[in-house]
Symmetry: C2
DNA sequence: TATTTATTTGCAAATTTGTTGCAATTTTAT
DNA sequence: ATAAAATTGCAACAAATTTGCAAATAAATA
């Protein structure tokens, strides 16, 4: 489906000195298809084709190589392809249905990050803004918008 | 040490219909003393004075009552007293030493959140910005500032 | 392409993290 | 001080994550 992504995956693996295996391709495919998902979702989707231990090892490797990033959702986390594949973005999570809405408009955030990092004499490597609330359709049911 | 905080704790518990026990006071004290810490750190600090199951129950209660908030640090989480005690703030985490620096200057962030929420027709309940990088002293050693 | 070498996988067992039921203890209300 | 209600500790359980190692697969070489 997405030639460029697969090429990027394979090059990244090879450059790091790792092999391209069918299990690694599978995990990548699942991430490409379903975007932010929990470890157990990823595991369920791969059942029969991949062992749990290997899944954890592959995710750890992908993380080290910057192929995957862990997205904190409250105190749990989900996995998604890194900015390398998707472009940098932030997220809004619906507290009711769990839907994750990606947000791209981060111009002012970037400025904010830069100035904060400077002020605290920190070299910022990455940042992530997480907003939690109720999405349009969930709000209509139980949480009539009062603001 | 901090009379007001303890009073606030006790009132919050009582108002919710819960008792003030020495275990709950202990957990609160530890949170007051060491700020953002992982569950296992909290547990280790309380060993001999508190059972693991009770610790989890107390944290769950504190969370329900808004006394404590879970702070996602990458894909793990740490616990800290809620905004009710500390005021709303964000964090910078050092990728080397793990130090957590609280940041308070969130004027532009708040504006950003509001406009984003409006655009996506989401009612935002809470938000958290997490910056990861290298703090001043860690950077000086291994990561000379190039920017 | 066949073979050798190096890497990766699956499996089983271990560890770590979080949860639950219930009797004993502590707190609160009387 | 006592009774009633809430909370704790304990032990067992369940879920999430990690590890060692032999078997299988991918990469390198001939």
């Amino acid at each position: 489906m997405n030639y460029d992504s697969y090429e990027l995956l394979e090059n990244t693996l090879r450059l790091g000195g790792y092999s391209v295996t069918k299990q690694r391709r599978l995990v990548f495919e699942l991430l490409l298809k379903h975007e932010p998902q929990a470890m157990h979702e990823l595991y369920e989707r791969s059942i029969g084709r991949l062992d749990r231990a290997s899944l954890y090892r592959i995710i750890a490797l992908f993380e080290r190589l910057g192929i995957v990033q862990k997205l904190s959702m409250g105190w749990k986390y989900k996995l998604e392809l890194s900015d390398m594949f998707t472009g940098h973005h932030h997220h809004i999570t619906c507290l009711k249905c769990g839907r994750v809405i990606p947000i791209k408009e981060d111009l002012s955030i970037e400025r904010f990050i830069t100035s904060i990092a400077q002020k605290h004499r920190v070299s910022a490597v990455k940042h992530q803004l997480e907003i939690q609330g109720y999405c349009n359709s969930c709000r209509e049911h139980d949480h009539p918008l009062t603001v």
